[in-house]
């Protein structure tokens, strides 16, 4: 264990963190104002949906993924108990009409990232306008790329028709530039955690994002974090460096990350859809066909729904090295079959190739098992520390 180089109060100014703590009210203000001015609000459920297209249509893309346990019970009126909490929470908001963004949405774009979500969207589509992007699930097939491009052509047509606009190449280039800028800023913030003495906690990194991407007020705050980070340290030198992978942690569903950081762990890297995964690739701004450039960027997302998802293993390999991960914790939402099964390969990668301990945590949004998860996390860290002492 090395001595921390900095004092705690040198850490990043709290202001950008406080700004993003009020992220939902900010987004709500923004969406209400935009809507009043005639801009459509478009809900989305996953990182495969290109915000660039929605923005180029003049729309406001808003993430609708539910992270609250409170709406699950309402969802279970229609949905089976044994379904992922993310789907149930999202659907619960639909039943209760309690997510203002969903209530404001002029269109919802969903994706075929899992069977549960597909069927849930069928129920939701009974009363709400819905467009579903069909993902090719074998990304290495010769025709998969073309098929995905045509899905985006169809989404473009839906947006143009529904909102009576023409999405120009120039508009796509502008929105791609904005989103590239956002990705670059958030990548840089995530990259601060590569340090031996990281200036932020994993929870803070997770919080530094917004349900509505591309807002200039947020960009200013991202820049402040980066400016201030050089001098800071979250006094983490003695903590166990964790690479968190698996399912996304929507707003409100941060429990497992918190348990890790409350028990002497530091989540230095998040390989998931609320973390680095969607930030890795940018849209090629020099491509002659901006829609193709957008399709190419999103096509490479290594979601567990993809067959022979070797891109995710490559990414984990790269991130574990760059972020000096001492262990991998994989979070799997209950009944998320694709992540649950793919965990086999992640464990193999961790134990046989990276030679670092691996822990898979399967849970839902209810806090009932927090104490038991904490025991498993602590035992993992004791093993990491034990190995350090032994070597």
């Amino acid at each position: 264990m090395s001595e921390c180089r900095h004092r705690q109060d040198d850490a990043v100014d709290i202001t950008p963190i406080a700004w993003f703590a009020r992220m939902i009210p900010h987004c709500l203000d923004y969406a209400v104002t935009a809507k009043t001015r005639g801009r459509p609000v478009v809900g989305m459920m996953c990182e495969y949906t290109p915000r660039e297209l929605i923005m180029a249509a003049g729309g406001v893309p808003v993430c609708l993924c539910g992270g609250s346990a409170k709406t699950v019970e309402a969802a279970e009126r229609d949905l089976p108990n044994n379904l992922c909490p993310l789907i149930k929470s999202t659907y619960g908001y639909h039943v209760l009409k309690s997510n203002p963004f969903l209530e404001m949405a002029d269109l919802i774009v969903s994706e075929t990232t899992c069977d549960g979500k597909k069927k849930m969207c069928e129920l939701m589509a009974q009363t709400r306008p819905m467009h579903v992007l069909a993902l090719p699930q074998r990304p290495d097939d010769a025709d998969a790329r073309e098929s995905w491009y045509h899905e985006l052509v169809k989404l473009k047509a839906t947006l143009e028709e529904r909102f009576n606009v023409v999405i120009t190449d120039d508009a796509l280039r502008v929105s791609s530039r904005v989103m590239n800028r956002e990705r670059a800023l958030r990548r840089e913030i995530a990259g601060l955690m590569k340090s031996d003495c990281p200036p932020l906690t994993g929870r803070q990194v997770l919080q530094l994002k917004s349900s509505i991407a591309g807002l200039s007020a947020d960009f200013a705050q991202y820049e402040r974090v980066i400016e201030q980070a050089g001098s800071g340290c979250a006094c983490a030198a003695s903590k166990v460096r964790v690479l968190l992978t698996g399912v996304p942690l929507p707003n409100g569903a941060e429990r497992v990350l918190d348990l890790i950081e409350e028990h002497d762990g530091l989540v230095v890297c998040q390989e998931n859809c609320t973390g680095l995964r969607p930030l890795i690739d940018d849209v090629d701004l020099d491509h002659p066909d901006p829609l193709r450039a957008i399709a190419d960027k999103y096509y490479h997302l290594p979601c567990s729904v993809m067959m022979q998802n070797t891109r995710r293993m490559d990414l984990l390999r790269q991130l574990a090295a760059e972020y000096h991960a001492e262990c991998i914790v994989e979070l799997v939402w209950q009944a998320c079959i694709t992540y649950d099964v793919e965990a086999y390969f992640v464990r193999k990668l961790a134990e046989e190739e990276l030679r670092i301990p691996y822990l898979r945590i399967q849970t839902d949004y209810s806090p009932a098992d927090s104490a038991r998860i904490a025991v498993r996390i602590q035992a993992l860290f004791e093993t990491v520390q034990g190995r350090k002492v032994a070597s």
């Binding site: 134990e351 301990p357 691996y358 098992d369 104490a371 038991r372 025991v375 498993r376 602590q378 035992a379 004791e382 093993t383 034990g386 190995r387 002492v389 032994a390």
Partner: protein
């Protein structure tokens, strides 16, 4: 400082092991109660009194689910690390540990040097725990220590599939109503618990395998586990105390690095 203590504050019982220069000089066990903090303190003072050791002279590590309630513990460790340390001391070379306690069961894989390589826990329900056996013993009106002898008289162990204590109890009531003998039910329950624990292994058992935790004291459970795991399973020496012993050994190393 040559005295060190390990306190294993479990869900059903509290265990204390006191070491002097790394050797056990006293130990004690008591039932867990409602006033857990006071129960732990009382047992610890009793063990110290029996050994004639001043509390101030002892470095203490706590483990078990109530480890954060132990007064004066300098550090806490999970049961996983402590059982591994305890078993590695008593049975050097152990590679797999089955630990069945009051409210959960665990499987630990050790490196040849005794460090924990990996572990799995059944922490979602009580069907793989001592609580399961207690419930069944009460239903069969036999004291828990006699359940093994009862099961040994079985001629045709009952098939019990329920993965939940409450449903298993319902299933047992049904079996008894259908005329199954208590011996067959007891044997069926031991097999069911053993299979539930063996699922944790996912087919990965590295011999030698040691069995520890309070349930290791129940006669017949070791053979039921050996059958479910398909390899010999040895009851660890002093199985109820391996966690406290491991904690005491960790306490004796405090401040060394």
């Amino acid at each position: 400082m040559s005295f060190s203590a390990g306190i294993d504050a479990g869900s059903r019982t509290i265990k204390v092991v006191l070491l002097q220069a790394g050797e056990v000089i006293a130990r004690g066990i008591a039932d867990q109660g409602i006033a857990q903090e006071a129960e732990i303190e009382r047992l610890f003072l009793r063990v110290l009194g029996e050994a004639g050791v001043e509390r101030e002279a002892v470095r203490t590590v706590a483990t078990g689910y109530a480890r954060n309630l132990v007064r004066g513990a300098e550090k806490t460790y999970t049961e996983i690390t402590c059982h591994a340390r305890g078993v590695a001391r008593l049975a050097p070379g152990a590679r797999t540990i089955i630990e069945i306690g009051g409210q959960d069961s665990k499987l630990l894989w050790l490196e040849p040097n005794g460090l924990v390589r990996d572990f799995a826990m059944n922490d979602r329900c009580a069907a793989g725990s001592g609580r399961f056996l207690e419930t069944v013993a009460a239903r069969l009106s036999v004291p828990l220590p006699e359940m093994g002898a009862l099961a040994a008289r079985s001629t045709s162990p009952a098939v019990i599939n329920s993965t939940c204590v409450v449903f298993a109890e319902t299933e047992i009531i049904g079996l008894l109503a259908d005329g199954a003998s208590p011996a067959d039910v007891a044997a069926g329950i031991q097999g069911s618990l053993a299979r539930r624990v063996s699922v944790l292994a996912g087919g990965q058992v590295v011999p030698p395998v040691y069995f520890t935790g309070g349930v290791a004291l129940v006669p017949g459970m070791d053979t039921a586990l050996a059958e479910a795991f398909g390899c010999p399973v040895a009851v660890a020496p002093d199985p109820q105390f391996t966690g406290a012993l491991g904690a005491a050994l960790l306490a004796s190393e405090l401040g060394r690095c």
